[in-house]
């Protein structure tokens, strides 16, 4: 449903980022929260759309006065500009997309335990997709969007299901050689069982919402404005 229907509005959002900010308010951009069907690999573009919402639509959602509204818009516009500068800086060969190699040349990224996994998502993104990726970290993104993002990191084959081995892969990245493979499996099996899941059961996005949604997830990254 959202895959085909939202294409035009996505372009509108994008032009609003990069071009005139003021015009954006006249355009009725209503983007539904990504339904779970978005998580299949065919609708990656629609998926990125749903993630792009916090950056672009917040001014529209804000029920405050016009003055307040324009302030927020300016800040968002500033953030997009900053992100664009950053993107150009990272894209050293100027190809219009960032490669895993370029990103791993940032030492802080290279030492991150999940860097290899994230590179699978980040490799070859253009600017629009780059912003969409980062928008899950916007302070204005909803809890649901953040959970969906985490789900996507787990769901390596993008089939909307997270299996035992998916979780084990992430756990392996996080613990490295400091827990043996056998012990890792034991730990995960036990923890899953205690939460009422079997080893061979798969977790959907609703399970993630249930497990992670109770207490707030802190996943906010401020875009530095120079």
């Amino acid at each position: 449903m959202p895959c085909s229907g939202n294409d035009s509005s996505r372009i509108a959002v994008c032009s609003a980022w990069l071009g005139g900010v003021g015009e954006r308010e006249t355009e009725a951009i209503t983007i539904p929260n990504a339904p779970r069907s978005d998580l299949n690999p065919k609708s990656v573009s629609a998926f990125s759309l749903s993630f792009s919402t916090p950056w672009a639509t917040v001014p529209l959602c804000s029920p405050n006065t016009t003055l307040k509204k324009s302030n927020t818009t300016a800040a968002t516009h500033q953030e997009i500009v900053s992100l664009y500068q950053r993107f150009c800086q990272l894209d050293r060969n100027g190809g219009g997309f960032v490669s895993a190699d370029e990103l791993l040349s940032i030492p802080e990224v290279a030492v991150n335990p999940l860097s290899q996994r994230l590179m699978g998502i980040l490799n070859g993104l253009n600017f629009k997709e780059f912003v969409a990726f980062l928008s899950a970290f916007s302070p204005r993104a909803t809890q649901q969007q953040k959970i969906e993002f985490i789900f996507r990191v787990y769901d390596s084959d993008c089939n909307g299901k997270v299996t035992f081995s998916d979780i084990l892969d992430i756990l392996r990245d996080l613990t490295g050689q400091f827990i043996s493979e056998q012990q890792r499996e034991q730990v995960l099996t036990r923890v899953l069982e205690e939460s009422g899941y079997a080893k061979d059961s798969t977790l959907g996005i609703s399970d993630f919402t249930k497990v992670l949604g109770n207490t707030g997830i802190k996943m906010d990254v401020e875009v530095p404005i120079d």
């Binding site: 802080e108 335990p113 999940l114 756990l171």
Partner: protein, 377 residues
């Protein structure tokens, strides 16, 4: 050492093992710094990877390492009807009057220098002491011409370096012009990366005479040879030695890790802080983006290069202090004086990947947390 990430970069572990042990202290809050959650391990604890993701995204959006090597474009000030003609006038003056004059000055400098250097070098073969003295004077002279060719307005603070044995000067590094600015006052012997082109030619011919030592960053064999030459030079009561312990040009807003080599020679270390005023031109040499010739041309077409140089109090290794701690202390002094921010990174990471040790430390702390809380009931 475990398997490192693939790619064209190779991790030179022997070198990066010298990284600061306290790298986490500098980094923004992350998993390792957050207060440890307590209680029994539950599924949520394993599934919630948000701290690690936040760290990664934070570094992608902005990171301290890339900031060190970013040339900040000057704020545009001329886009207004009154200032724009003024700016145009300035361009004409800078490119069509100042620049040719500077080229002439530099040419005269080279003529004077070469016409005296070559005869001195050939004729005074027998009188080594006298020859060295004159040659050093000439090197100082040509450096003065260089500084004049960008109208260098350099303020030197503190006592001038003296010719004593057992001392080494260390300075922060922004561009090769640091060397020229310091050299015009004192004929330092310097340790530098071997360059290609005309700079390389100067290095291997003229600057040899002031006792400069060249090396190739990528050759690990060079490192031992340089270390030995360093020790020999320091012990001889010759001209003072200058080292840029960062090993790479930083944009003069930050300091990267100081290599410990200069700090384990067992002699006193005299810090020199250099701060450029970016009012007319950014003196940072971004060697990835431009050649040194281009960098010099940029300086020669600007109004002036304004900079402050501070010769600071000599420091000695304190009892019980490791060379790494000593290096860090000297870095503190220089950063404080020049108003630079410190980052924990090794400047050589421009050319290589960080050691897997840092990642392993994060993994270890997570693994320990998991195992400990698994036991809790």
């Amino acid at each position: 050492m475990s398997i490192t990430s693939t790619g064209k970069f190779k991790t030179s572990s022997s070198e990066l093992d010298l990284d600061r042990p306290n790298i986490e202290d500098y980094l923004p809050s992350g998993t390792s710094i957050q207060p440890e959650p307590i209680g029994k391990l539950c599924l949520r604890d394993l599934l919630d990877i948000s701290p690690t993701l936040t760290e990664a995204a934070g570094a992608i959006v902005d990171d301290s390492f890339t900031r060190c090597f970013k040339s900040n474009p000057p704020e545009p000030w001329n886009w207004n009807i009154y200032l724009f003609p003024l700016w145009c006038f300035g361009v004409v003056v800078r490119y069509f009057i100042l620049f040719p004059v500077r080229v002439i000055v530099l040419t005269i400098g080279w003529i004077i220098f070469l016409s005296s250097y070559i005869p001195v070098h050939i004729l005074l073969k027998g009188h080594d002491k006298l020859r060295k003295k004159i040659e050093r004077f000439l090197v100082e002279l040509i450096c003065t011409f260089f500084v004049a060719s960008w109208t260098g307005v350099v303020k030197y603070h503190g006592p001038r370096p003296s010719m004593r044995p057992n001392q080494v000067f260390v300075a922060n590094h922004t561009s090769m012009i640091d060397f020229i600015i310091l050299e015009q006052m004192t004929a330092f012997a310097v340790i530098m990366q071997k360059h290609a082109g005309w700079v390389g030619l100067l290095q291997s011919t003229i600057l040899e005479s002031v006792g400069c030592i060249w090396f190739n960053r990528t050759e690990s064999k060079d490192r031992e040879i340089v270390a030995k030459k360093l020790r020999d030079h320091v012990q001889a009561a010759d001209n003072p030695l200058l080292i840029f312990p960062e090993g790479t040009c930083v944009n003069n807003h930050y300091t990267v890790m100081f290599k410990k080599g200069a700090f384990e020679l067992g002699c006193s270390v005299c810090p020199v802080a250099i701060k450029y005023n970016k009012i007319f031109v950014d003196a940072f040499w971004n060697s990835r983006k431009q050649s040194f010739t281009k960098h010099l041309l940029q300086l020669m077409t600007s109004w002036a290069v304004v900079c402050d140089v501070w010769y600071l109090e000599p420091q000695n290794l304190r009892p019980g202090e490791t060379p790494i701690e000593f290096a860090e202390r000297v870095r503190d002094i220089i950063s404080a004086r020049a108003g630079l921010k410190k980052v924990p990174w090794d400047g050589y990471l421009k050319h290589s990947r960080p050691s897997p040790k840092h990642r392993e430390r994060k993994q270890q702390s997570f693994a320990e947390m998991v195992l400990r809380r698994l036991e809790e009931r």
